[in-house]
Amino acid sequence: MFLRILFIGGLVSLMFVNHGQAQVFFGAGYTHVKFSDRETDASGGLAIATHYYHQLEDSKLGWQVAVNVGMMYEQFQDEAFPYQSYFSDLDIIPSLTYSVFNKKKMNLYVFAGPFLSWTVGVRDGNMDYLSSYIDEWRGGIDVGVGFDYTLFDKLQIKVMPFTFQYGNNNYQQYSSVLYIRL
């Protein structure tokens, strides 16, 4: 319940983030999730991401807030439990950023912050087990690298080649996403 309140609170906070020059990015990529130590307790799929980025003036520091949706369609089954599950993974990630290399058209930065993740979906059943729904909350730390490049005045892209999340119950998620500035 606490995590849910935090999640909703985070979304409401995000809605009021409207100070300064807004840099909003929207993109898509690949994400891979591992729910526990078991190699087969994992899935991968499409990540759709919205991203608010703000760099402080005359400073290497900044902050960003990301809302990501992962749609998991890949299945990593094992012989002991050959059943499918389909689910979505919704994340909210506020992070601090530090610019490593910043030139006129380029900005390479690293970021770190907490994340909150909600996983919801459906799992197969059989004669012995009824099918069931997945409704799990996880929290942890998110770190990654971002690279902004301005192609023209009105066209700016962002690549986040590597984002890693580590959460409770040995939850791990990797993502690679390409964004365009809206």
Binding site: L14, M15, F16, V17, N18, A22, V24, F26, I48, T50, Y52, V67, V69, M71, Y73, Y83, Q84, Y86, F87, S88, V120, G121, V122, R123, D124, G125, N126, M127, L130, S131, S132, Y133, D135, K154, L155, I180, L182
Partner: protein
């Protein structure tokens, strides 16, 4: 059908291109959604939607182009005790809007345009029934209106109703609240 799928797709691409390459107003928000997934209305599900919208004013700001991306998840199907079904829908739309009423801090906008819908479905196996999954991409039409209100310098967009129609009896209704970011 008056417009073929290719024409609708082309319209969406054009509208999205115009929208992405221009400066405009961005909105982020979410709300309630309900959808019929079949002609006979046997699959009537509800859930939530979150979305991002960009509005570009054109022609003396009376008209506007609005591109929207929405992700919808239908919780009533997922939490069903028997035969749970997972549906997620991604929709992209490029609409033409007209400001019906325009005051300093209040406006009502009517919107209509083509949309692209990607519906992913998974019916879990149960007892002796096997699981089924499908992934369908289809074109549709979206029609709705929005009420934009400015409160203490911040613009809010309330969409009391927005409907989307597509083939095979697919219909989706949305009620949502957005904030300008």
């Amino acid at each position: 059908m008056m417009f073929g799928v290719q024409v609708k797709l082309l319209l969406i691409v054009v509208l999205l291109t115009v929208s992405f390459s221009s400066f405009g107003q961005l909105w982020f928000g979410g709300g309630y959604t309900e959808a019929y997934f079949s002609e006979d209305r046997s699959e009537d599900l509800n859930g939530f939607t979150i979305g991002l919208t960009k509005s570009i004013p054109i022609k003396n700001e009376k008209f506007l182009v609005e591109s929207s991306f929405n992700y919808s998840l239908f919780m009533s199907g997922i939490k069903r005790e028997l035969f749970p079904v997972y549906h997620n829908v991604l929709s992209l739309s490029g609409s033409l809007g007209y400001r019906l009423i325009r005051l300093k801090k209040f406006e009502i906008v009517g919107l209509v345009g083509p949309s692209l819908i990607w519906d992913q479905k998974f019916q879990a196996s149960e007892l002796t029934f096997d699981s089924q999954n499908s992934s369908r991409l289809k074109a549709g039409v979206v029609l709705g209106f929005a009420v934009n209100i400015q409160v203490k310098g911040v613009w809010f967009k309330f969409v009391p109703v927005s409907c989307q129609w597509s083939s095979n009896g697919y219909r989706q209704g949305v009620m949502a609240l957005y904030i300008s970011i």
